[in-house]
Subunit: 458 residues, 2 copies
């Protein structure tokens, strides 16, 4: 196709949060833009974060997690979606991509004027024997979720071993318990949730135990043992301990998917992920990147960081799309906010933890408090535990973590907003936060924690 | 008593939030300080904000609202509390106060080295015939709460007329409905909750109506009609309409109680409340003031403001106490955050509303959005409506209001933190707020509102 006879073309590689946000925003700003999106799975624009709730059967149908279907993208937004298409090469000089239709194995080539790499992350898989067994799952794409749910629905397994003890493992532990499956979480570090402070983790551990989740920390999986049907039957741990299981879920985090980018000459940063500027442009002209394949600036440390989470991917996608569509937008970075729910506990963090702060050379100190979620006399008040991480030299807030039955999720955002503005404990101490007995004590736990921290300043 | 033979003495006038916070903090910092607190009622250190829940019978006993009793102040904190004592004069030159024991009508005099005026506000009462009738209540002190609850318990009234439609009226409407009392709210302005934007108020009005609360806006009470027992039997409105009622609650706001201060030469500000510096010192040496009798700086407008709310009173009291106890602390002001609950709705605001912003000369604009409290597919998601007020010239956030069934209270605090830091919409647009499907959509409603507002910038 002759590029002079056609409109400007924007090609998106990877049709999840970042990619489809960019596609939509660019098309909306510049309706003359031709927008094509290639996605290696059959689904685009779905909530990956909703998968645990689909497996738990809190969400009945996988399609409820899909925000917009490929057909709707075409009909309502004028965006061409190529599902089951894997882009295999980018030629930046000719501004061309080659894609393979995974169903027919036919190859096709497309020119681009602007290109977006939003191919996400790759689930880490321990390099051990048995990982290829049929009922060893990872959880990343909607198809993964559909596969796991189908396995649970059809095979009615009694036991699962979850390898890795991060937040998705916690969400999945709850999901499986809701399906009456016995759960063992195997974490190689000394504690589950290694990025959380021990006092926060204690609360989670206690809750998991109360819901009959077994936890094996400091435990490394040596191999997965299969039977002749190529199905896993046991997890082998150190010292030849063998733990029978009906299936395995690997939740060992993700690393950036950078193969395609690297081949195209796109530069990676220290974290191993793609580096982009604040407009989401890579070092290669006309190539943008966003989502779980890029690194971002951590606004607390000022350093590059790899934080593969949905909200940032959406924002980055929108920013890229705005720039590609002819507008101007910048994405400055993240402070590292996340929250998850497990068995009725809300667990959240933002900013740096003690170890991260120490590694960065801060004069790090931290305090822990527990206070009520509501006025003490108001029915249904429950404890919230907060850890505040701060710098003794500057008095600056560096991070916060929180756990409790309620009122945690949006409370952590107060700290996130404070971190965004590089506030000191002094500046935070008397912040004008909302109060009414059903929602908080007159001194909000956030302020209690900040004031206790302030009292620890030397 | 010869001042040379005794320790330094700190006298507190008014034993609620501000006063007892100051007393406690000063004594803790300087245990040699002699601290006396005078309170005209029998109760000190209670949660005035909890009174509606006591009347609703969600809180069973009035004493549950009391944080610390006078005996505990004496025994555990070494603070002498004089309940039922009204201070009638302050002599700044001799550094003396005169108090009357309201039970015995005896007068006593006390020297002071430092003095705190924390006498709170005075409930506004319309200047109309019948206000002296026996079952016409205001709600401010714990004793007021006890009186209203006793009246409800003993007399089992069927109907109440609430004069004034502010947030306490909303809380009390719910409390009375829980006690199966028919409620009519009479507001002289065109809408209830005059400081809220119409789209937020609409949500509240609809909720009140669904709970059979009658609302009469644009309605001025002309008189209260009594019978021979000196009890109110009807509220007379304009055009001689008469509305029968079994009792009346006046919720017409408070004004600062400044009589004592004025007599002592303490300066008032433009709002009519006491002016203090950031250390809570008045213009008169050794006299501090805090709580509902003072004006504070509105950190959004930069102008003095009268915002009589519990959290600020507590903070101001603590700051004054820290300075009096030998430390150093400052209170910079408020951004004007408040929240209340009525019939399962959370209603919150922070910063300036449209009218306030316009009066201050801002190029004010506002947008309204409604979005989900959780991911749309997650069970139990409910709509949150947000209004964002901003300045077209600077792009600065000026205020926000919010209403919804859940997730409002601490979400408003994100805006409060942004206002504290004078953030622009641009700076807020991609803030790293927490996300997980049970707690928010991937674009938090706060960010949706900010981005819509940003799109309206010219």
């Amino acid at each position: 196709m002759n590029s002079k006879t056609r409109n400007e073309r924007f090609v998106v590689i990877g049709g999840c949060a970042a990619g489809m946000s960019a596609a939509s925003k660019a098309k909306r700003l510049n309706p003359n833009l031709e927008v094509l999106a290639f996605e290696r799975t059959a689904h685009v624009s779905y909530s990956a974060c909703g998968i645990p709730y689909y497996i738990a059967d809190l969400v009945r149908e996988a399609r409820e997690l899909v925000t917009i279907t490929p057909e709707e993208f075409r009909e309502k937004r004028g965006i061409q979606v190529f599902g089951n298409h894997q882009v295999v090469t980018i030629s930046p000089v000719q501004r061309k991509v080659t894609a393979i239709d995974l169903r027919s194995q036919t190859e096709c080539e497309f020119d681009y004027d602007k290109l977006m790499i939003s191919v996400g992350g790759i689930p880490n898989r321990p390099n051990i024997p048995g990982m290829q067994l049929r009922n060893v799952f990872t959880i990343q794409t909607l198809q993964d979720g559909i596969n796991i749910r189908r396995y649970v629905d059809e095979r009615k397994p009694k036991r699962v071993a979850i390898i890795g003890g991060g937040y998705i493992a916690m969400e999945m532990a709850e999901a499986f318990r809701r399906r009456f499956i016995e759960v063992t979480v195997i974490e190689r570090e000394k504690q589950i949730l290694p990025s959380f402070e021990p006092n926060i983790v204690e609360n989670v551990t206690e809750k998991l135990k109360r819901h009959d989740v077994s936890i094996r920390t400091g435990s490394r999986v040596q191999a997965l043992d299969g039977k002749e049907t190529q199905e896993v039957v046991a997890v082998r741990l150190q010292e030849s301990q063998s733990m029978p299981t009906d299936f395995v879920l690997v939740c060992s985090g993700v690393r950036p998917n950078t193969e395609l980018a690297t081949m195209a000459g796109v530069r990676l940063g220290k974290t191993g992920a793609i580096t982009v500027d604040r407009k989401m442009q890579s070092n290669v002209p006309n190539i943008y990147a966003a989502g779980d394949c890029i690194e971002v600036k951590n606004l607390v440390s000022g350093k590059p960081d790899y934080v593969p989470l949905g909200p940032a991917a959406n924002k980055q996608g929108r920013v890229a799309g705005e720039n590609i569509g002819g507008g101007t937008a910048t994405f400055n970075g993240v402070v590292g906010t996340s929250v998850f729910k497990t068995f009725g506990l809300e667990v959240a963090r933002t900013g740096l933890n003690v170890k991260q702060a120490r590694d960065l050379g801060y004069a790090v100190d931290s305090v822990h408090i527990t206070d009520n979620s509501k006025a003490g006399y108001y029915p249904g008040s429950s404890p919230i535990t907060i850890t505040v991480v701060f710098d003794q030299r500057s008095g600056r807030l560096l991070g916060a973590q929180m756990v409790g039955k309620e009122g945690v999720s949006k409370r952590i955002d107060i700290f996130a907003a404070a971190l965004t503005n590089k506030m000191t404990l002094d500046e935070m101490a008397y912040m004008d936060l909302s109060y009414a007995p059903p929602f908080a004590p007159v001194w909000d736990p956030v302020l209690v924690a900040v004031n206790v921290a302030k009292g620890h300043l030397k």
